[in-house]
Amino acid sequence: MKILMVCGNGLGSSFACQMTVEGVLKELGVKADLDHCDLSSARSMKADLILSGKNFESQFKNLAIETPQIFLDRLVDKNEIREKLTPFLKEKGLI
């Protein structure tokens, strides 16, 4: 499974988010391929799930990406990420 973190520049906050997600997945015992990129590139990247900030929600609607998306209020909050990620991982049968 591949999870993609997205922000405007694809450098700072998406990367910070990725490192937090990595920690959460480790705790949950799930193995996944993680990467981060900018909004323009997100459309052409293959992923099973996209994680991004709430402020990007409307832009993703415009891009019409089919990949499931989760939008976060706080990009580096372990609890929020765990809470929002768990239903998706359960659905995929990973936990």
Partner: protein, 426 residues
Amino acid sequence: MEVINFIVDNILTQAPITIGLIALLGLVLQRKSVGQTISGTFKTILGFMVLSAGSAVIVQALTFFGAIFTKGYGMQGLVPSIEAINGQAMNELGLGSEIALTLGAIFIVNIIIARFTKWKYIFLTGQALLWMSTICAVFGYYCGLRGAALIVVGGVVGGIFAVAMPAIAQPFVRKITGNDDIALGHFCTVGYVLTALVSKLFGGKSKSTEELNLPKGLEFLQDTYLSIGVVMIPLFIITAFFAGPEFCAKYAGNTNYIVYAFLQAIQFVVGVYVLLAGVRLLLAELVPAFRGIAMKIVPDAVPALDCPVLFPYAPNAVIIGFVSTTIGSVIGMFLFPMFGLPMILPGMMTNFFAGGCAGIFGNAAGGTRGAIISGIIHGLFITLLPALLSPMLADIGFINATCTDVDTIVCGLFYGWLLKPLLGLF
């Protein structure tokens, strides 16, 4: 002796290899598997060389733009782009290895300060550290420092900035996020603190921006490449129009000069895109290694993160900060040349990210009215500082570009105004 000469000439002065070795060291210290170590080292070197390739593209587009701007308006206009400064420092000035080693030194000094003082900030915004190490290396060189002295001074100065900037922002960040879990690691902090203070003065107890209903139309500017394009395309086309078809033909050949200008504007965006893709590859191994090592040595570390981490806390303030900063930077563009300073064109990427974050600070300190007034002041401030730094950059040999992030500029001014005269005494 020959062996040492070989190492110095072919390894330590070859920037991609130097940075690869730093990554290798980080990976080994983390006890990664052989496969991960090889792939991580390779990707870091790859990233560094992609970055150089992007910079060459930027320089080409900027050379064209500089020529038509001078011809069209009879004056020099500088594009604020820290990416272009970084690229030129690595390619034209050949300071790549110094920059890479200074980056490593900043990591070390940051960890030492966080370990032994009460300021527990670990600066994790890799690209900001890369820009900071660029400025430290460039201005250290300008001051006459060479070799180990340049790297040690750069590491100490940059390392102090990496802790001091999150520390001065923290009272406001605490107010915004409601806790001390994260800090702000973005080298535009001097501007944010100024914005917050101005906002406090003028805003009083005005209503928070988040109670407003704002149009969502400007959100697309969060997309970096779109926001650069939105400004660069009209700027190139209008400038080419004033420069005239005969002058542009030198560059455009048989292509229509307006079409050529349009394509060159996009070429500039391409350069930034490639350069940042290189930065992403370059940092993918370095930042987690730095984080892993730092967290082991400084158990109660507070990570200082990139500014968009704060954006979801006050999305309206981001838009207001962006618009008011842009207004301020446009006023500054026309105002400062009257005082004999060079004309600084508005840098939309900085206006969005730094302006947006300034809006959040302004709102936290003085509500909507405060955010608007202080945003305009912020726009003037981030136009004034690059203008002050640009004569020194021109001295060093940079083409048509100046720095953006104000903390890196303050660092440059510190080198140029204080360190250089001091070193001149000896």
